[in-house]
Symmetry: C2
Subunit: 487 residues, 2 copies
């Protein structure tokens, strides 16, 4: 590969022209007319990102039914220099999966590859196609008394292909890892149409290079994931959930260490949220009650999951809280007295984004820090945000156990939403500068897509960026697969 | 990259000439004469693999003291087409880390990069250089009340760089994963000398492609790992170890499911061994006693580790064994009554390789199967081996929880060792054919190196092999880094 193609991997391919009608017809013939959507009304669900940050147009939405059809589509695209934008459940948050405004990008929807091919409880594995909705994998695992742990807000509509392409995180990462950690084997179609069939269900396999991680988290820019073998886990027999009030994030971090020492990987959630978000929830969620008797500066949602008994789960949680009280870390805490109350606690957490909408515009950041630095980060970023926009309302919340904070800032009361949101990038610059200085990531679990593409070179070294571009140029020499995303 | 270079990535570089004296001098100048070993006696420890399968010669052993020196060495090697063989603790088992007989391969020993750069208990992370001996990482983690779980026989002399380059497995994989799963960040020097500094300690980071997995498990063929940020875990407060007698591997597999359901990831070992190996141990290990009152066909070593109390650990183990007895899976079992006895149980497991030596020659296989297929594999492979070499003594043992079986075959009593070992490849062919047919791996945890290089194309598809070669050719265009290993 020439050094110039390293410097400008898509120079030869950009900009892509709007495909001619006969070319569209050739693509459509691969999937059949019924599954080639050209009517704008049929296309609509594939063109708009749910946060309304991105809306695009496309000449055709292709809905292949087999891996072979996906391969044919990509082969034709590489031969003709046609841009392909892969899409799963269209729940992404960074603009990776929706076409741009040029009208040159064909949408490749994996939704019809929705078969669960094989369930292997004895081997704790499940083989699924890319278009299977996450919730359906949970159901299939549950049916054989197993757990597939990937848990996130969009699980009712997101598909596993998208989850893997974006290396999704969610609330169970502290115990089970990110999406990439849940994969045993992967089937991928390269931009040039070759099928890499790595659908192995082995726990140990050092026969050659492990290439699946190249595609996991690459946001559909290096290949199209068509199927995967996923890890299953024993289904916890009992859970204990508590809401805990603490004075500071530093106290929360100390409690985290206590909890991990007691529970190890039975600590299945350790989420943090500020008082302000609890107030938002009480104000906007019908029937939502203050979880603790008196208001606390910060709230933690702590979950313990065990394979034995309710008693064992409760004993571990009580030991954690007891030590937390003794150490002066826990001000107040309440254990879920019923399944209903446990669900209410989780609802409080899951509605965090929803209730922010009710309070007006929000400028959002999906950042991560070395876990130990989260308190120091919040001590710097909150005042920095407040001094940039007086009376703005920072509502940082998220996965303390992973160092992943959704550093969101709600508009000042009564302020003009548009005026506030107009300062999005200005606020990003302030927050991301602190993150970078502390060795954190500006794209923790939502990815880069188009939203953060221009920020990436600022947080990755020259040699790292060069290697990413060389990988892209090697796998996608024509630059036809999701160009302008990530790189 | 041209398609011909894909087909023959090293065509331009192979065979490498023996480096001239002035070139050796240039390499030596980078590290300083003191650390450029040219005396054969000084070189010896770097030239012989401990199983005596490989012995090579080298013009010089280079012992750099910094990442910058490693980068200079590789840059010069790429410029001059000089072959470099990276080496850690020289405990590898597949010939990846020792030079060949040509005298053209320079050994790059990472042993002097042995600093523990940073220990972060609050963030459960530790930053180490490639040459740190695995046991020293255990000690450093222990000093801050944490666990680094990677556990294997060679841990007293192997180095973390080699562990990561070979994606080492070991006995703790069932609970903590393989070596690659324990890495947060990686520092790698590319064959052309660029340094990829990815020493981040983030639990969630989707800022661009995850490139560390490209190098993890690549056996020093794609880059030289110089440092890593590793995950630490809570140190278990209590352990319970049991030896369990079962009738068949199928019963063992059913018990594994029971154990995982009860203990989840607190099940920290589930090892299987046949009666014959117990007899070898009793015969050859002074003071080793039969662990159960009556001989059993198969033995399991089961370990539970918890963060709470001895009572909790014992309660989980007793629940597992109780259910196992009720289900008719467990014939006999004994719990370690003391730390001494626990160590004896583990000694039984750790001496498996040693006691085989005492019985003569062994033909070895490091294979893995989908976990559920291990019993079926053993039912086929044991008679197949016995019919190929009458009276040979199969002693398959290993990590049932990972589907990883060391399918070793000890020579017939009184047979000639050399005659027996001469049939190594013949036996491999029989065993590996069954493995391949069942979707297993012929290189589970020891890697490919030179030992299995010629077998790899037989177990990986054309497109997979082609992609591996393209990655190799892209990262190492001159083919100077560990050529003839893996690919």
């Amino acid at each position: 590969m020439s050094s110039s193609s390293v410097a400008h991997p898509f120079a030869s391919a950009q900009p892509h022209a709007v495909p001619a009608a006969d070319l569209i017809a050739r693509f459509s013939a691969i999937v059949g007319e019924k599954y080639a959507l050209t009517d704008v009304n049929d296309q609509k669900p594939y063109l708009i990102e749910w946060r309304d940050l991105y809306e695009g147009v496309t000449p055709v939405v292709l809905r292949p039914g087999t891996t072979a059809e996906v391969a044919e589509i990509l082969k034709l695209a590489s031969e003709t220099g046609t841009t392909i934008v892969p899409q799963g459940g269209n729940t992404g948050l960074v603009g990776a999966q929706v076409p741009d405004q040029s009208g040159s990008e064909i949408v490749l929807s994996l939704g019809r590859l929705n078969r669960i091919r094989h369930v292997d409880p004895a081997g704790d594995a499940i083989t699924v196609e890319a278009g299977v909705i996450l919730d359906n994998i949970h159901t299939a695992a549950d049916a054989v008394d197993r757990l597939f742990p990937l848990t996130l807000g969009a699980q009712g509509s997101c598909t596993i292909g998208g989850n893997l392409a974006s290396n999704a995180g969610g609330t169970a990462v502290i115990a089970y890892g990110n999406a990439r950690d849940l994969v045993l084997g992967l089937e991928v179609v390269l931009p040039t149409g070759e099928v890499i069939d790595g659908l192995r269900s082995l726990r140990k396999d050092n026969a050659g290079y492990d290439m699946k991680h190249l595609f996991l988290g690459s946001e559909g820019t290096l290949g199209v994931i068509t199927a995967a073998v996923l890890k299953l886990f024993p289904k916890p027999r009992a859970k204990e959930v508590a809401v805990v009030g603490v004075e500071t994030p530093a106290a929360a971090l100390e409690l985290l260490a206590l909890a991990k020492a007691q529970a190890g990987s039975q600590l299945t959630a350790f989420e943090i949220m500020p008082r302000r978000l609890v107030e938002f929830s009480i104000a906007h969620i019908p029937g939502m009650r203050d979880p603790l008797t008196t208001p606390q500066p910060w709230y933690l949602l702590v979950e313990i999951s065990v394979g034995t008994s309710e008693e064992a789960a409760r004993a571990i949680m009580e030991a954690i809280l007891e030590q937390g009280f003794e150490a002066g870390l826990v001000i107040d805490a309440t254990l879920a007295a019923s399944l209903k109350q446990r669900d209410d606690f989780w609802k409080l957490r899951h509605e965090m984004s929803g209730v922010q909408k009710m309070e007006g515009g929000s400028i959002k950041h999906d950042v991560s820090l070395p876990v130990a630095l989260v308190p120091a980060f919040l001590e710097r970023a909150i005042p920095a945000a407040e001094s940039l926009i007086p009376n703005c309302r920072p509502v940082p919340f998220g996965h303390l156990g992973d160092g992943n904070i959704h550093f969101n800032i709600t508009q000042p009361i009564g302020a003009d939403k548009a005026t506030f949101l107009a300062r999005w990038e200005e606020m990003n610059a302030v927050v991301h500068a602190i993150v970078a200085e502390m060795g954190g990531s500006i794209a923790a679990e939502h990815g880069v897509g188009r939203l953060k593409r221009d920020l990436l070179p600022g947080v990755r070294s020259g040699p790292e960026m060069a290697l990413m571009r060389r990988l892209k140029a090697m796998l996608d020499p024509k630059g036809i697969l999701n160009p302008g995303r990530v790189l």
